[in-house]
Amino acid sequence: MDDKQIVELYWQRNEQAIAETAAKYETYCMKISQNILSDRADSEENVNDTYLHTWEAIPPQRPAILSAFLGRIARNLALNRYKAKSAQKRQGDAFALSLDELDDCAVSLPDPESETAAAELGASISAFLRTQSEEVRSMFVLRYFYCESIEELSARFRCGESRIKTTLLRTRRKLREHLIKEGYCEA
């Protein structure tokens, strides 16, 4: 079943929509959850929450790209779960490592809770990423959105880990310059 048909099932409030979503995107959502939570049971729970949130979000929303929509929900839920789990202590896991890397580009939003500000920042980062090559853009998104490990990226891009690290470092530096120009970061 294609994505448009699945979205249509949600709009019809047909519970088959969840079954179809699970059939097509369970592995995808599981991977994102697992990358962040590093725990199978938590990740499975997170994937179920993703279906529930999707059910609640469609309608009124009608996502143009269902995979990105699901990925974003799975990621946000996993991040919330991760924050709750690591409230007492920062975990030295793969996800924490990717967060550390992004410290270079830490931004100062006037109201961090504001959805508008976050959306504008997302648009700015997207605009920056569109100026990069497809390879660099994909590498960056896979690392910092999907939270894939350096080893996984190395296998996916068929190159050494050092090349992945160097490319990401350069891209973060460029992003930082871009965010300084846009006024999101202090020089």
């Binding site: 995808y28 990105a68 974003r72 992004l102 920042l121 997302g122 998104v141």
Partner: protein, 169 residues
């Protein structure tokens, strides 16, 4: 990062690395260059003898060395026959090992021998002088000097110029 555009999120996941191009020509060129280098090194090593040979005090090289003979011999004082060919030989080896010297024709004497011992093969040390006597020399023949069993020099008559020459084989 959660607010990235949908298309960026979706396309990143579908990204497949392009297979690396294999540049055949530079690889072949490099391999050929290595082969040439190895072949050249082998050739140079093969052509550079481990022992330098001096005939009548002149180092033997790839070019023929003319020998001002037959003429009355002065080195040992024993040969006074104008048709006797007598050469003084000395050797400089890169190793200290003694050399086994032999000749296809004629005899080898050493000035240091207490009594004359005409032999066709002798063992000498570096710096030691030998006298190679061919009596009488045949102008149509080619005489060979062997070092450790390998041909190291040949002696032939240059009939056009009317003298004997020594050269590497």
């Amino acid at each position: 990062m959660s607010e990235l555009d949908d298309d960026l999120i979706a396309s990143a996941c579908q990204y497949r690395a392009k297979p690396h191009k294999t540049y055949l020509f530079p690889r072949m060129l490099a391999a050929a260059a290595c082969l040439v280098l190895i072949a050249t090194a082998a050739l140079v090593m093969h052509r550079t003898p481990e022992t330098d040979i001096y005939i009548d005090g002149t180092a033997l090289s790839a070019d023929p060395v003319p020998i001002d003979q037959p003429m009355p011999m002065a080195l040992d004082g024993r040969s006074t026959d104008a048709q006797t060919l007598c050469l003084s030989l000395s050797f400089e080896s890169r190793t200290d090992a003694p050399l086994e010297v032999s000749v296809s024709e004629g005899v080898l004497d050493s000035p240091s021998d207490a009594s004359p011992r005409a032999l066709s093969a002798r063992t000498v040390s570096a710096g030691e002088i030998l006298l190679w006597t061919i009596d009488p020399p045949d102008e149509s023949a080619v005489y060979t000097l062997y070092l450790d069993g390998k041909a190291a020099a040949v002696l032939r008559c240059d009939s056009a110029n009317g003298y004997w020459v020594a050269e590497r084989p």
